[in-house]
């Protein structure tokens, strides 16, 4: 278990581009747009005030130079990569540096330019190898989840499909309230989701996150300095990262009805924040809904639902915008889009807007504690990040 940075780190400014097929924007453009927005969100702050940068991308650039060249800065810049949790990783390292007192003001930037690859999905330059790995798409790997769940918990397959459809419907409905930035800002009916052609197993495109370009950025200071920059900072309450030993894909008999890395990560983050009952103490959550079954299982791993009951909570509307614990109010990866390196910071951006009362039509009534869950990998081998943020100190 890691030591807590509760109430020691604050976010004082953020920026986020529109996500989607940004044919007219390069990764450099998206970094410039997100970083400029973040700086502009802090009155009086200048680029020169930022002392160090961390930039996250899976495959849209290399080294700190990808950012220093675009933004034209003479500063320490580090590129980080941790699969789909890269954006959170940039935040985490910047927070460490500021907490350590090495820098007073740091920026975390996340960016991904997926639509230059010519492939509608994630591309990854794997290191040279013996090429014995089966060629399995991400949708196929996640499409294995629903049947394991229904068999383990004795859930009707039709009910399970209805729950997955509800998640897709909910996230698209939320995204429709986010027209300035979401990739798919139109509601989609449950009938359309159910009748869409399948891409893998029982999953259709409506069960998959949007393949998008985008960038997001956060400016980080120590909590005691925050009010010098803004009346409404966002405070870090807990932060955990966990990479598993990848035995879930190598152990016979293991059932993927839970992601153990997330469970470990959540316990760590909750302990740091002093949260004992996430169901009641957390006001809202942005979770890694790369596929609809992922979001379903996460509701149990994050402690929002009891084991085997998330499907029922989903269908009861517990995680809808007006439910007891709104999940992905900004539309999530599903509807907002998933530019890998930017997604973790995009999640924090929604907490930032909600805490400040700037979330427009999807504004929640006075959220106090928000959770951002961001992860990368496949069922059985994940790197998982959880960040807990609050509106106020204490």
């Amino acid at each position: 278990m890691s030591k807590s940075l509760k109430d020691r780190i604050a976010v004082i400014g953020m920026g986020c581009t529109r996500f989607g097929e940004r044919w007219d924007r390069s990764a450099e453009d998206l970094m410039i747009d997100a970083a400029s927005d973040a700086i502009a969100s802090v009155p009086g702050l200048r680029k020169e005030d930022i002392e160090a940068y961390w930039v996250a991308t899976l495959a849209s650039g290399h080294s700190g130079l990808m950012l220093s060249r675009a933004l034209k800065v003479d500063r320490p810049v580090t590129r980080v990569e941790n699969f789909c949790a890269s954006g959170s990783e940039a935040f985490r390292n910047a927070a460490f540096a500021v907490a350590a007192g090495v820098y007073d003001v740091a920026m975390a930037v996340g960016v991904e330019k997926l639509k230059d690859s010519g492939y509608s999905g994630l591309t990854l330059n794997a290191p040279p190898g013996d090429n014995t790995s089966a060629e399995i798409s991400n949708p196929a790997a996640y499409a294995m989840l629903p049947d394991v769940y229904t068999e383990t918990f004795g859930v009707d397959k039709g009910d399970m499909r209805d729950a997955l459809t509800h998640i897709a419907w909910k996230n698209h409905s939320n995204g429709a309230l986010n027209p300035d930035r979401a990739q798919y800002a139109a509601p989609v009916s449950k009938e359309r989701i159910d009748s869409a052609p399948r891409v893998a197993g029982n999953l259709s495109v409506f069960d998959c996150s949007g393949v998008a370009d985008g960038g997001a950025a956060a400016i980080i200071v120590r909590a005691e300095d925050a009010k010098r920059y803004t009346d409404k900072p966002m405070y870090l309450k807990g932060m955990s990262l966990h990479a598993g030993r990848c035995d879930g894909v190598a152990t016979a008999g293991r059932h993927h009805v839970s992601f153990p890395e997330v469970v470990t990560c959540a316990a760590d983050a909750y302990a740091q924040a002093g949260i004992t009952n996430p169901r009641t103490e957390i006001s809202m959550a942005e979770v890694h809904d790369c596929f609809t079954p992922t979001e379903l299982l996460l509701m149990e791993d994050l402690g929002f639902s009891k084991r085997g009951e998330a499907w029922r909570d989903v269908l009861d509307g517990a995680f809808d915008l007006k439910g007891r614990l709104p999940v992905n109010p900004d539309g999530g990866l599903k509807s907002f889009g998933h530019p890998v390196g930017a997604s973790g910071l995009r999640m924090m951006f929604e907490l930032w807007l909600q805490f400040r009362g700037e979330a427009g039509a999807r504004q929640l009534p006075d959220p106090r504690i928000g959770l951002a869950h961001n992860m990368g990998g496949l069922p059985g081998e994940f790197v998982s990040f959880i960040g807990l943020f609050g509106k106020e100190l204490g």
Partner: protein, 453 residues
């Protein structure tokens, strides 16, 4: 006002193959496009040599029998690399006779006709030996200082299996040459007579230029038209450059115009499945600037390898990445036009364009900066035997531009032993490398003082 020929240019690649490499009795050279040149790059060289090309309105005709792309417009590539206007109609013409067709069309509609071609033949064949590579460009339009005017234009199509090539083949099939000669001689005579009738003069033309695959037939046919100034242009063209396919009539015309005097007449015939012909009257004395010196002698093995007729051992490394279509589109000003940016606040030049100024930090305050035609020089350079090049060693160079800006580029047509820091260079649009047979293009720097004119 009527449409007249306002300007012309010719481009002959620097390298050449000596015909004596095949037999001691042979003479002359054929022009050879470099490994990084093709129909598009040679057409760009020719069009960019036209004065006022960027003001050309209306149409751009590209005539070639060896387009690097089907489906996709090759004329469109020439258009963007020459920085022509956004409303120019780009027209791709194909086949050996398309060169003269392009001249006829442009003389009627105005615009630019650029004729560009690469001729290959089976190794050791007369098509290979007598062929040549090159391009010529012609700007037609209205203006008071025209180079020449078209007096007449005729076409005589004949369905003839004289020379043909099927898609995918690197070679032409050529029927016994005496057959085509026998059939075509009277067709050419008849076309010439038709033009004479249009011109209303019984005097023979000052120049009679015949473009035909068979050089001996072309000379015989030209002789029969009794041109007042003889056959020197055609003879030197065939000797030093060779038959340039669709570009052949363009090069013949450009060389004649370069030495002609006002008042001369030029009869130009293109053949292949019939004949198209033009009669021009020269309005302005030629400038006498198209002096083609000896080409840089290329070894035959290099020639075969550069044309892809002999497979050289590739560098043992993974394939290069293919071009991202969206990135190429987004950056087309830079990639095809070598246009960077200049900061509107402080004047700093960025190559490629940058949204944030590296000097004053201004964001999105920039104007286009065209580096393609600017004076530039070598700031530093090194041979590079690691990069895979058909002309190893490649030379990497830092190029500084007068007026600001610096780019790391590859040098082409350069010998590391003959260049020095500070040497002037010019920028040239080149074919860089292929992935999955798809060519990629970008600019290289070429030492200015070392090229044959």
């Amino acid at each position: 006002m009527t449409i007249k020929l306002q300007a012309f240019s010719a481009f002959v690649p620097r390298h050449a193959l000596s015909r004596k490499a095949f037999a001691a009795g042979n003479s002359g050279q054929r022009a050879v496009a470099g490994y990084d040149e093709d129909v598009v790059t040679m057409a760009v060289e020719a069009v960019r040599r036209l004065p006022e090309a960027r003001n050309a309105q209306g149409r751009l005709y590209l005539a070639t029998s060896t387009p690097p792309f089907w489906d996709k417009s090759n004329a469109g590539l020439v258009h963007v690399a020459c920085g022509l206007g956004g409303n120019v109609q780009c027209i791709d013409l194909g086949g050996l006779r398309s060169g003269l067709s392009a001249l006829q069309l442009a003389s009627e509609t105005g615009g630019i006709a650029v004729l560009s071609d690469i001729r290959t033949g089976r190794p050791g064949s007369s098509e290979e030996l007598e062929g040549g590579d090159g391009a010529a460009a012609f700007l037609f339009g209205e203006g008071d200082n025209a180079v020449a005017e078209v007096i007449g234009s005729v076409s005589r199509p004949v369905e003839l299996m004289d020379v043909w090539r099927v898609p995918g083949s690197q070679w032409s099939y050529v029927w016994e040459e005496r057959f085509a000669s026998t059939v075509m001689a009277p067709v050419i005579a008849e076309a010439a007579e038709a033009l004479r009738a249009i011109s209303g003069s019984n005097a023979p033309p000052t120049y009679a230029l015949i473009s035909a695959l068979n050089g001996r037939f072309a000379l015989t046919a030209a002789t029969s038209l009794r041109p007042a100034r003889g056959l020197a242009v055609q003879k030197s063209h065939r000797s030093r450059i060779g038959f340039c396919g669709s570009a052949d009539p363009g090069l013949l015309l450009a060389f004649a115009l370069d030495e002609a005097k006002a008042g001369d007449t030029i009869l130009l015939v293109g053949t292949g499945s019939g004949a198209d012909a033009l009669m021009l009257r020269v309005l302005r004395d030629g400038a006498g600037v198209l002096k083609i010196g000896d080409g840089i002698d290329l070894g035959y093995v290099d020639y075969l390898s550069w044309r892809g007729l002999l497979e050289r051992e590739p560098a043992r490394r993974p394939d290069r990445p293919s071009v991202s279509a969206p990135a190429s589109f987004r950056n087309h000003d830079w990639k095809f036009g070598l246009r960077g940016s200049r900061c509107l606040e402080c004047g700093k030049v960025h190559l490629p364009p940058q949204r944030v100024c590296s000097s004053c930090d201004a964001i999105d305050r920039l104007e286009a900066y065209d580096a393609s035609g600017r004076a530039a020089h070598i700031a530093s350079f090194s041979t590079d035997l690691v990069s895979d090049s058909p002309a190893s060693p490649a030379i990497a160079a830092m190029i500084d531009f007068d007026g600001g800006g610096r780019v790391m580029m590859e040098l082409t047509e350069a010998d590391a032993k003959q260049i020095a820091v500070g040497d002037p260079v010019e920028l040239t649009f080149r074919r860089t490398y292929e992935v999955n047979n798809t060519p990629n293009y970008f600019w290289k720097a070429r030492p200015l003082n070392r090229i044959s004119t």
